[in-house]
């Protein structure tokens, strides 16, 4: 009984019918043990959440109203912040990106501004959602195939055929790597304390952004949005300062270029020469 898994005091308040529908397909989906009724930990990241929201629009993904989707997502994040749910940074970075996308869709492009158009960004988002959905469907089809050991079976009493092998011993690469990794792990000092961070640096945010949406190719005034979603209002000033410092550091390293057209104008960012050269290599350092 799904209702019983919610906090008792909430059960009578919410009919929870849509919730049941939502959680039914996967038990792992987020029921928070703490005081929260529901969190988004059950979603496999922000794209998953977006896909779920998009499905509720009940239209083909290629005809999706991106703007409506963005509104929904941002409204969701706002609510989460209001009731002080701690959201993973992934979700906040996505919110920042979507807020930026929204501004691009609503405000006509300035002549001076050579960033990606709202349409291009919307297309990127739609493509990613469609691709993820396609993989979901493929996974479903795959797992519903006839499977060895469930629907069809191998010879139950195999005899030995002396297949030629170079070695009389067997081991897989997985066995080998597993042995090595656990050996080294055992001997490594395992006490590590991870300091708690309250403010995400811009560099952190950028890394997540890269994973979420691919590289921001061109001049983008994203930082305003990143700060808005990644910090609490009370911390915004200090976050702004440290994020700006982080930005300058990245500029110094050649990873980033920045531009501002006038006092109090948005700060534009784009990838620097250094980052472009190491583009492929960066992929692996998540």
């Amino acid at each position: 009984m799904y209702g019983s898994r919610f906090k008792p005091q909430k059960t009578e308040a919410s009919g929870a019918a849509p919730l049941e529908e939502l959680w039914q397909d996967d038990r792992d989906r987020g029921l928070h043990e703490e005081g929260l009724v529901v969190d988004i930990a059950g979603f496999e990241g922000p794209l998953d959440l977006l896909l779920h929201l998009a499905r509720t629009q009940k239209v083909d993904l290629s005809r999706l109203s991106v703007l409506a989707l963005v509104e929904q997502y941002l409204a969701f994040i706002e609510r989460a912040r209001q009731i002080r749910i701690e959201l993973a940074a992934d979700y906040l970075v996505m919110a920042a990106w979507l807020a930026y996308l929204k501004s691009r869709l609503l405000i006509p492009q300035q002549p001076k501004d050579d960033g990606p158009s709202g349409e291009e960004m919307a297309a990127t988002l739609a493509f990613r959602l469609k691709r993820l959905e396609a993989m979901r469907d493929a996974a479903t089809r795959l797992v519903n195939r006839n499977r060895l050991g469930r629907d069809f079976f191998a010879r139950g009493a195999p005899e030995h055929i002396p297949i030629q092998r170079r070695s009389a011993f067997d081991a897989s690469l997985y066995d080998l790597l597993n042995a090595y990794a656990s050996l080294r792990q055992r001997h490594a000092i395992t006490q590590v304390t991870i300091e708690k961070r309250t403010v995400w640096s811009l560099a952190d945010a950028r890394e997540i952004l890269h994973r979420l949406m691919g590289e921001v190719e061109d001049w983008t005034a994203l930082d305003h949005f990143l700060l808005r979603y990644l910090t609490e209002p009370s911390e915004r000033r200090t976050a702004m300062a440290s994020a700006f410092a982080a930005t300058l550091e990245m500029v110094r390293e050649g990873q980033l270029e920045i531009r501002q057209d006038g006092v109090f104008q948005p700060i534009f960012l784009r990838r620097g020469a250094q980052a472009q050269r190491g583009e492929q290599g960066d992929d692996d350092h998540v």
Binding site: K10, A13, S14, L19, L22, D28, L36, V37, V38, E44, G45, L47, D48, L53, Q57, K58, V59, S65, L67, A68, E71, Q72, I83, R84, I85, D90, A123, F127, K130, L132, A134, M135, D137, A138, A139, L142, V143, R145, N146, R147, L148, G149, R150, D151, F152, F153, A154, H160, I163, Q164, L173, L177, R211, L212, M213, G278, Q280, D282, D283, D284
Partner: protein, 240 residues
């Protein structure tokens, strides 16, 4: 050890012989192939079978004949990559039960990663994460590697040389696939450009509709809808 050295003298004429080969010799070849594949629980390499057939017999021909012979039977001959195996007919799963445990249950995440690897291989971890928009949690790839369905394939020839992943023969065997081309929907996905890292040129760019314009089959989003979505139930309390 391959002890089939002796009859190799017959090899030169092999090609012409194949078509006019003595039917008794063909029958003998089929029996040998049958015995070899029947004996093994796992798929047997075609080359291994070929080495053990009488000289001048085309292994592909023999195997195709055998496959046809077993096609309607309770046990079928199936091809897995360049290997052969006997498997019970899937429609008989209702009577045949295995004494061994259930098939491995995969989490939603693991299944998703498995299909991304299957359809996009060779694929790097960064690319998997790019498609899913989320970091791969510890243990997801691990489970697939341990199950023997996924393997390290090699390294991409790009700066940083990231490791690439691919599926194994056991993967094909488990899901009853003869080859990767048999993955369900592969061609359509490829055609739609959904197996690429880039937006395909024919990708339909959704019209960024203004708030007032709605597609014919679209309803406006209302405040109600948001609540119905139930992502946040009213009255949730903070946890700290």
């Amino acid at each position: 050890m391959s002890e089939v050295d002796g009859p190799q003298d017959a090899a030169p004429a092999a090609d012409e012989v194949a078509t006019v080969v003595d039917p008794r010799r063909l029958h003998e070849a089929a029996r040998i192939a049958e015995a070899l594949v029947f004996a093994s629980a796992g798929p047997v390499p075609e080359g291994y079978i070929a080495d053990r057939l009488p000289a001048g017999v085309d292994v592909g021909h023999v195997m195709r004949q055998l496959r046809a012979l077993y096609a309607g039977r309770g046990v079928n001959l199936v091809q897995v990559a360049d290997h052969w195996a006997f498997r019970t007919a899937p429609d008989l799963s209702f009577v045949v039960r295995s004494d061994e445990g259930e098939v491995r249950k995969l989490s939603r995440a693991a299944l998703e990663v498995l299909s991304i690897i299957a359809y996009h291989q060779p694929v790097t971890r960064a690319e998997i994460e790019d498609i899913r928009g989320v970091q791969t949690s510890k243990g997801t790839l691990d489970v697939l590697l341990e199950a023997g369905w996924v393997r390290f394939r090699g390294r991409r020839r790009t700066p940083g040389r990231p490791v690439t992943f691919g599926t194994t023969k056991d993967f094909l065997d488990h899901f009853g696939l003869e080859e990767l081309r048999d993955l369900p929907g592969l061609e359509e996905l490829k055609g739609a450009g959904l197996l690429s890292g880039r937006i395909p040129s024919n990708f339909q760019i959704p019209l960024p509709l203004g708030e007032d314009e709605l597609a014919d089959d679209e309803d406006p989003i209302t405040q109600m809808d948001l609540e119905e979505l139930g992502l946040l139930t009213p009255g949730g309390k903070e946890d700290e």
